[in-house]
Subunit: 448 residues, 4 copies
């Protein structure tokens, strides 16, 4: 066993944290990871992307959240590893397993880029892939992790990618009740000021028990878990899927799309998107990727407000100055041809639908029981009954049963209302009237 | 009277705010101001500059705070203007006065640039001056304010500049207990997670009374004000003057200084500081100033990590990757020649003291009584005694008396310890040993 | 209109309240009601009866809660009556209606006796009946209310009894989302320290709208109401129905039953239950009723620990010194004859089942839609949709639908385990073994 | 070493606590102590005596607080005894010392009677004396403690009485920053809703270090301790010494005095004060003392409202129905003969000053440095400086220095204003006018 696995700091380090009061660091390895440039970079990427346009408090970074996930994990393991006879409940558990949990918790989001949701869709990339490159490539993080052993970075990557052989380790960071989710619900609730996200973390930590391949919850803590599931449900609909936030996301996507389209056309940018070139030419390298963050992106946007291309300039101005798209809800099962109709009408009105019209759906599955053969992550939550057997949560809880397996989906049309008004005043009355009528019809269908 | 002064929104707008629960907007004018690009720009400037390197939670923006100051002011006025016979207590008070208070509260920080503390020192500028330019120049804010009357922007500016004739209006936004301070103490405490900043805002609002040229506090609320003064004291020393935060500020200043020095020397930047040119050539215009924000500055820093000039590249890398300067406290009355000694030793060791050594003092005056002929802002806080007369706070409160008029100052030396170590290993043992000895001596003097 | 309806205090009175921060009193009538001896008496009756044996924080009184309900009502009306054109939304609304709401909110619990749940079952009485007597009888409260008009006390009583003609007034204090429930959920959560009871009161108040006979909720606030319904559900199962609390309640009932049985038998109490005589002889008068409170009852219990009758002495000792009954859950549909079997076995073992065995069920209906012809209180909650029509909550919310109309019931057997052990050691091994087996069988059925 | 010192419960027990979230019990001995009847009795004695008449939330019991002190102590020891090389910092520390700390923390208030402040003054008794009797007498607590060893109860008593030889043990429960104070400040703040009492307990626990005979505070935590001292100061003046609370206390004392006077005169009580007889005859025994609690006292008061003696009946009615005495502040150094003058005037007016007039002083010393030869408890708080030496707190902190050693005293006259009015209307105009003038003069002197 490598010495670094058990090497403690001379004195514990603490971070004052508004959510967990304090984040405690005892291990030298963790401290070194926090101080790498790749981890510090997370300070320049907001945890909730565009949510700050809706909830002005939501300006916290992924750095903030990552420390929190680490702290939740640390507390889970502290509980697990100080109970009497804990080794019997966790056979074969080693110091390396403990450190894998902590490192995976700290680093699970390290591959995120700026405004990932929008970014990844346009540039066809994926933050999980970049996480792997950061862990395994020529980075400070890789150097720190390698102190344990040559294959330790690889193992951390496997834990984050959910392919690691010790399933208990994996489940603590990726399951329906894991350190990641528990931190982000509490944290996002705190920063937005929305109190729906609160649940009793301390109680959940106390009723969690390691049980073979995952952690289970003592039956006496069922209500705390119900409350956690409901918090999750509420946060999704109240915060994460807020239509104003999504409107800003739509504009982001349109900006990236316009940049891509212009680049492909050979447009000569006044302000060159140097740091995006890798993506535009589909050969992004790690070093450039690590320089991409929200300050970089916002710098470009500010410059492009003055760009010659009027669409790019307009979209950037919208994002920077919060002139967002309007939206109506609609029901796609009734209006299957709505998009093509609207697209055509927009074109007739002289408003480019490629950049000023978008259909967007949000969907959430607050909890799911186990469905053999479907996506692996959805491990159900199990209750440990007084007699010792396990029971799947939705079979014990009416509340959870009610939301279990039922995805809720919401469909919205986003569009530049101000442009329609401009076109109307410029004389296109009939077409704009038709668009308005179509939107009203759509909205009626959406009012369930 | 202009119609816009009393024009209400069809429906109140609310912002979810973690500190005040909700920020309420009823006036159309306020809503329009919030939506101007100059106000939205405050989203890209952090309230606490470099504090986030010490308190990871302190990532909130000036937008966040500005809404909060507005809300505190709104509540103060709501209290004042709904009490029985309030007009007698506020003779001549008009709707315009009310709106001046709200606008000044909302806009008082609108001139801030990125990392103002450091920025302003190097570039010899001042955010208050820019506030004036934004209010009076060709801006969206100016357009909105002018709807009231041609001289309304000017009046708002006078309120913020403390020169407006109605002193009560001025004092609500600038005094020793004003809407600005009350918001920032609560807000900065919330985001950092440090609970020293808490005091009972609701109680203070209830015991505040307009009284001729300022607001006074009913005697029964004295303890709430004591608590507010102590909160202020604690926040200064625990948060605002934290040495790690100041270390990051020192580096910022050194970066700006290096840019200026290089520009003056005619250095050819690989990545040109276009948006800073106005300052470098001492002819900054408003439009460029408004494009300066933290994303712009951080973009430059990231680019300059690769700049040819090794000092600039190193300093930017330090800031971006949080490799800060070390510090020791010292007592300047004992070591008056310390700076020149250290400067010389640094030069001998081959470490440029212009960029890698700094003396910095922080000083706070938690509360002050009135000193005729001294700086105007320090209006004392007055208590309204049961009999009706006024008494200056420090004469009634032992606690406040104890801190009244007593500035606390702390002096620190910041320096690049890692460079000293490098030089030591490169052979400069004697000089570095002398430097270390001088720092140890300084530290002893600093341990009061 | 009586002058007293609009008479304000010279200066507002405030109560520091940990749940609502401050309770504000502006009306002289309210202030006078608070100072009556009948209202002050509520200080000596705990809000949550025996819950304090489980949650040591739950020591707050009905006085505490009653002020809170008043404050919530005051805020509801403040919102309702300051919106533009509010009179159109509340046609015919008068100052008297406003005062009826406030008085009913303040006084709705004034008839409660000590440990009402247990007390009322044994003595066949009902706190609502006593509320009526207090409002209408020779009391200070009646005197204060009569200042408005001779029939004002009667009207307040009708509001509390839900028979008042203005249904909007009634619904604000008695419906599925009323001032009473909103206060007790928040308050009981605060004092127990259980955070399940939290919901966003301020948001609910903002989205509540008067609409003919009741208050409706704007659709945009649906999630806040969902959260409120879930809080209610959680508080019922986590706090109000906690089996340890109910065990203490069972003992209380047994004590009262024993007192009644002894009194009927003509037993000569060492310490006479003077203040209970009215109930024991079924002719309780108001004056005596008002002297009954928890200190009186606890005094008797302490005295009776030394009473000659060993059952009464033992039961009182159990309550005072928290030696509670054990419990097992069971399923009555499987074990319909369980009670008679256990009763017989207890008798065989020499343990009196009348005092040492109890079957108890708790049942909660978190929310119900409207069922014509069933109990009137269950007015459904209606959402006010964007188009203006109403929609019943459970038809819009999956979560609420899941719990709507579904009573959850839990059945438990409470018994004196220590007596069984005593009997076992005294030789009754076989019978006690049979009892244990029966309890184990019952428990198995209860584990659903 | 006795086995019981290290015997753990099979499963930890937790109490949900609103202040510390959870109180954790691991030791069987502690669990057994909590379940004794003498400890359960603390549920029937309020922590803050009559404060609930001012702050309706302050209804929490000494049981509540005692669990809290235990929990703070448990956390202090957990910190102390898990640091690396902790044994070197606490030479000779044994399991018995640990258990002494926990038991003393839990039991330090166990001797309190109902409304101790008032009670003890009249009956010339002292709760600390009763604590000793409970620990050493024939009680369940004594039985539980004796399981450790025959002299363990004696040792616990010594710790509480501050005479135990291990001064570190003593100081953790009795010093200027001890587990008792830290709990009550937080707890009383929570229940009253006054937020002045908040300070960062977790931080203080982290910077506390055992150092020979007491715990010291690392210099880096000085501000947290300043905040604690200020919290203490504020709580004293805002809550503990609130004049309305003291008015209720004055009435309590008058009731007890009247009972004593009547008993001494041989008055035949309609409702005999059986449980007080021991005190009235100066031979109180432990068994009776343990039956005295607030329910007993309040029962007597309710009965005595109907007592033949009009003074006793009136005083009890005042207490029960919150008809309190009025008060004015005065300056005793100016009005030394005021009491005798007023006494005489009251007699002339026909109002008995023995029961309807009282002079009362409250005095608080927020912090004190060490004064050799004065009362032992005032051990100063020491800071552990970076270099390792100790510095007394008030020498390092301006804020603490300002309040150090400076007792603040406030003098008030309490009197039955309503009786004066009655006498006035009954014709005693001149005398009452003189009384009023004297009170006005006194008040003027009191307005400092």
């Amino acid at each position: 066993m490598s010495h670094i696995l058990t090497q403690k700091l001379d004195e514990e380090k603490v971070f004052k944290d508004p959510v967990h009061r304090y984040v405690h660091v005892y291990d030298k390895l963790i401290w070194d990871l926090i101080n790498t440039s790749e981890f510090q970079r997370l300070r320049r990427i907001r945890q909730l992307g565009t949510s700050y346009v809706t909830f002005h408090g939501a300006e916290h970074s992924r750095f903030n959240h990552s420390l929190g996930v680490y702290e939740v994990m640390r507390r889970i393991l502290e509980k697990f590893m100080t109970r009497p006879a804990w080794q019997e409940a966790m056979p074969g558990w080693s110091e390396e397993d403990r450190m894998l949990c902590l490192c995976a918790a700290l680093l699970h989001d390290v591959g995120h880029g700026p405004f990932s949701h929008s970014f990844e869709k346009v540039f066809n990339t994926d933050h999980e892939e970049w996480t792997g490159k950061i862990l395994l490539g020529e980075t400070e993080i890789n150097q720190v992790l390698k102190q344990v052993s040559d294959d330790f970075p690889h193992k951390v990557n496997e834990v984050i990618a959910k392919t690691y052989e010790n399933k208990l380790v994996v489940s603590l960071i990726s399951s329906q009740i894991d350190a990641d989710r528990m931190d982000y619900l509490l944290r996002d609730a705190y920063y937005t000021g929305v109190n729906y996200g609160n649940f009793d973390l301390e109680r959940i930590l106390r009723v969690m028990r390691p049980h073979e391949e995952y952690a289970v919850i003592k039956y006496s803590g069922m209500h705390a878990v119900e409350d956690y599931i409901m918090s999750r449900y509420q946060m999704y609909w109240q915060v994460y899927f807020h239509p104003v936030t999504r409107s800003a996301e739509v504009i982001l996507r349109k900006i990236f799309k316009r940049v891509k389209d212009l680049y492909d056309e050979g447009y000569d940018f006044n302000c060159q998107p140097h740091l995006l070139k890798g993506f535009l030419e589909e050969k992004m390298d790690l070093k450039d990727y690590l320089r991409l963050d929200e300050s970089t992106i916002l710098y470009y946007f500010q410059m492009w407000v003055e760009e010659g291309d009027s669409i790019l300039a307009d979209l950037c101005d919208r994002f920077i100055n919060r002139r967002l798209f309007k939206y109506v809800e609609f029901n796609p099962s009734i209006h299957m041809r709505l998009y093509s109709e609207l697209e055509q009408l927009f074109r007739q009105a002289g408003v480019n639908p490629d950049y000023y019209l978008e259909f967007e759906s949000s969907s959430d599955l607050p909890y799911d029981y186990y469905r053999p053969g479907e996506e692996g992550e959805r491990l159900p939550i199990h209750l440990l009954m007084p007699g010792g057997e396990l029971r799947e949560l939705s079979r014990a809880s009416h509340i959870v049963q009610a939301v279990s397996g039922k995805a809720q989906t919401d469909h919205k049309i986003y569009f530049a209302q101000d442009l329609l008004e401009e076109r109307e005043q410029a004389g296109c009355r009939d077409v704009v009237a038709k668009i308005r009528q179509a939107l009203r019809d759509a909205e009626k269908s959406g009012a369930r």
